[in-house]
């Protein structure tokens, strides 16, 4: 008398456990899809801002370098022409530049170009990592959920309660990403 009751209670508890797992997993799959959107939005807001600020910095430095190059050119051409007058005006030009360069350098004591670019690249790698990991979360959650749907004995409960398998990250099951063409086998070249 007591044994059948224990068995029935055990089965019901198991079914409740499976149901709760599947329901939780389904909700989390939905949340992880939102998370991908969230990360993509972050990326689309972040990258233009970073680009602008990096460009701003670099422009600042290009200005300094351009001023210096101009001064050097005029001195060089004056020396080449051998005209004392021209040399004097070139000298004045350089002297006139110095305060400008000083102002630029004082507001910007180090040349930061390399640092700015490194920072930009770090952020770029991080943001694409974040999107990638958001997608992986969706893939992992979907795999955990779908495994329960097809393995024994949880598949019985899942079928009874009419749970359907989740698609996860939708990927075309045929196409170029499953074949390797001749051009794929060449080592990629980077041109800068």
């Amino acid at each position: 008398m007591i044994l059948p009751i224990i068995i029935i209670v055990g089965l019901v508890l198991y079914a409740v456990g499976v149901y709760n797992f599947l329901a939780t997993a389904k909700t989390r799959i939905g949340a992880s899809i939102q998370e991908i959107g969230n990360q993509l939005k972050r990326q689309s807001e972040l990258i233009p801002n970073l680009e602008d600020s990096a460009k701003g910095y670099l422009k600042h430095e290009t200005n300094i370098i351009k001023l210096l190059a101009d001064a050097r050119k005029s001195v060089d051409s004056a020396i080449a022409s051998g005209d004392l007058n021209k040399m004097a005006t070139a000298g004045e030009k350089v002297a006139g530049l110095l305060p400008k360069i000083q102002v630029v350098m004082e507001s910007n004591p180090q040349i930061k170009g390399a640092e700015v670019i490194t920072r930009l690249m770090d952020e770029l790698r991080d943001t694409s990592d974040k999107v990638m990991y958001a997608r992986r979360t969706l893939i992992d959650l979907t795999a955990d959920y779908n495994v329960r749907l097809v393995t024994f004995p949880s598949n019985i409960v899942a079928n009874l309660l009419n749970f359907k398998s989740e698609k996860g990250l939708e990927t075309a099951s045929s196409g170029e990403h499953l074949t390797v063409s001749g051009s794929d086998m060449k080592t990629p070249r980077v041109s800068i």
């Binding site: 790698r125 990592d129 974040k130 990991y133 958001a134 992986r136 979360t137």
Partner: protein, 310 residues
């Protein structure tokens, strides 16, 4: 050849086997140790009540070191908390891996030391702490750092601090009981009910108890170390499951193995927490036997297994 999923599953299975073996061994030891103690002190003041007393002592100290694990270890190790601005890679790598490990972001600390190492602690994922040395952060690139952080986050999400604390409590229990039994055997029997021994079973209990009193603390410690090594393999496998880049962890482990500098902030009590043995006291010449006493599996074995996942 195991792929990542199989490797994680196999490690979880083996890990449970070792833990079950440990529990069975502890139970048998307690039975005989308590029985033998009963022989000395009489069954009214029975061995089992002494076992309960030992459990209490070991449990309280063990619980305290478990509950405050993060604070205790951080204060011994001289670590300071970091923010995103100063350790960009460390912070963002942890942030990203937490997303895929589905745990809250742990607090991050660094130790100023040129030795390369990292550890995780804290009683549960909400109170987790990840700590790395500045040497590690300076010498690893982002992919390698992902491997190391993935390994540490696996310790966090698998509740390894909790597991190792429980194991340590049981080990302490056995050690206490064995110690009491050996002391009792010096002073001889004092029980009031000498006459109602359990027939001829008394001497058997006594001999088995005394034998276990000598051996069980060592055996239990060896099993504890086996659990610790198994959890390291599991953490490696999980790290690859998160990052899918075994190459990163392999090259990080190679770099860490080449670094011969011991970490000053580490000691025997905290050694099992680190990604590789921080004491650098490997005795490779003795081989297999020395391997039994290591908290970490040999780096070559870890790399070999990771290469199979690649």
């Amino acid at each position: 050849m195991l792929n990542v999923y199989e490797s994680v599953d196999a490690n979880i299975r083996k890990s449970w086997l070792v833990i079950a073996g440990f529990v069975v061994f502890v139970a048998i030891s307690i039975y005989f140790l308590a029985g033998a103690l009963g022989y000395f002190y009489g069954y009214q003041f029975s061995g089992l009540s002494l076992a309960g007393f030992a459990m209490l002592i070991s449990g309280i100290t063990g619980f305290a070191s478990y509950y405050y694990s993060d604070q205790i270890i951080l204060s011994i190790s001289n670590a300071r908390q970091v923010e995103k601005r100063s350790f960009f890679q460390f912070y963002t790598v942890t942030e990203n891996l937490c997303m895929v490990a589905r745990i809250p972001m742990p607090r991050l600390y660094v130790i100023e030391d040129t030795a390369m190492n990292a550890f995780a602690t804290g009683r549960d994922p909400r109170h987790a702490v990840i700590c790395a040395t500045t040497g590690l952060l300076a010498n690893l690139n982002r992919t390698e750092l992902e491997g190391v952080i993935g390994h540490e986050l696996s310790h966090v999400s698998n509740y390894d601090t909790r597991l190792m604390s429980l194991v340590t409590v049981l080990l302490g229990l056995i050690t206490l009981l064995a110690d009491w039994l050996l002391r009792a055997s010096f002073f001889g029997r004092s029980g009031s009910d000498r006459d109602n021994d359990r027939g001829s079973f008394g001497p058997v209990l006594l001999i088995a108890g005394l034998l276990l009193a000598l051996l069980s603390p060592i055996i239990a410690q060896l099993i504890q170390l086996a659990i610790s090594r198994r959890r390291e393999f599991l953490a490696d496998a999980n790290s690859v499951k998160f990052t899918r880049q075994p190459g990163g962890l392999i090259s990080a482990l190679k770099k860490i193995a080449l670094d011969k500098e011991p970490l000053e902030a580490a000691n025997k009590a905290t050694a099992h927490l680190y990604i590789s043995n921080p004491l650098k006291n490997h005795q490779d010449s003795i081989g297999w036997f020395a391997g039994l006493f290591n908290t970490h599996p040999p780096v070559e074995d870890r790399i070999k297994i990771l290469q199979q996942m690649a």
